[in-house]
Symmetry: C2
Subunit: 132 residues, 2 copies
DNA sequence: ATCCTTATTGACGTATACGTTAACTTATTC
DNA sequence: GAATAAGTTAACGTATACGTCAATAAGGAT
């Protein structure tokens, strides 16, 4: 089974980012495409990573934080290395607690905005009654 | 009933940010403290706003976006101004859709991290069995 | 052959979000 | 009254995350 491969501009088009951005992420160690001559070629793994990066960005994380994230996903789980496992576990749990705080913040903010929304709606209804 | 008031360093201490940061937020139009002579004095409203600002930052929004947010909260809901109401409603709905996307991103990420966590845990158990 | 497209590597420019330092005023304590 | 603490403005510095050239190379299309 052949692996699907992408050029840099194909990836850029798909995710609506610039090629510059993709190269920049590589510079920062977030992507590691193969080369064909001088040209970059991206496989499934890179594709998935880029998706992860953009999700991280939507959540407001810095590229450095996203790099740590990727590290968590990519850690080889060597069962012999109990120390490594515990280190990973600790890091994962820290990220989880940050994300859970974000969930709380999000829930609060959404709640408030939806109150404003329904307030708007009821006032617009009142308006339409007045006008008609 | 007397209003509680804060100095800049009291606010800074409470939220664990620098006075410079608080002044910067004022510069950008996010805060509008009173003055006593040259000194800034913050009331309940400023206190609440700062809380809102920091929540926005935890969600990864820029100060400009947070300013728009504050605008949504502070819009005077004049029922005569149907146009204004519809404009507000549109903006609120746009923010809501961004936040809902964030909720999806968060849920996905948390899900993946918690899988890694339980994977860690089960491997650590295996380890402890091996050792004992 | 030459032109066009797509790619590459620098290198410099820019907006955001503050940190840091300097120079100065005001209020309080010893 | 001299020192210390807390505040002010102004200005420059800095890290992040790219945008924007410029110069160059490689591969097809006409």
């Amino acid at each position: 089974m052949q692996q699907k491969l992408w050029t840099i501009s194909e990836l850029a088009d798909e995710y609506e980012i610039s090629a510059r951005t993709i190269r920049f992420y590589e510079d920062k160690g977030l992507l590691e495409p193969q080369r064909v001559g001088a040209n970059r070629v991206y496989g499934y793994k890179d594709h998935a990573r880029l998706k992860l990066i953009l999700r991280g960005k939507r959540l407001g994380f810095s590229l450095e934080e996203i790099k740590e994230f990727i590290g968590l996903y990519n850690t080889e789980l060597d069962p012999e290395q109990t120390g490594q496992l515990q280190f990973l576990l600790k890091n994962v749990r820290e990220k989880v607690s940050v994300l859970k705080q974000q969930q709380l913040d999000l829930a609060m903010t959404l709640d408030e905005l939806m109150k404003i929304e329904s307030e708007c709606l009821s006032r617009l209804e009142d308006d339409s009654l007045t006008v008609s």
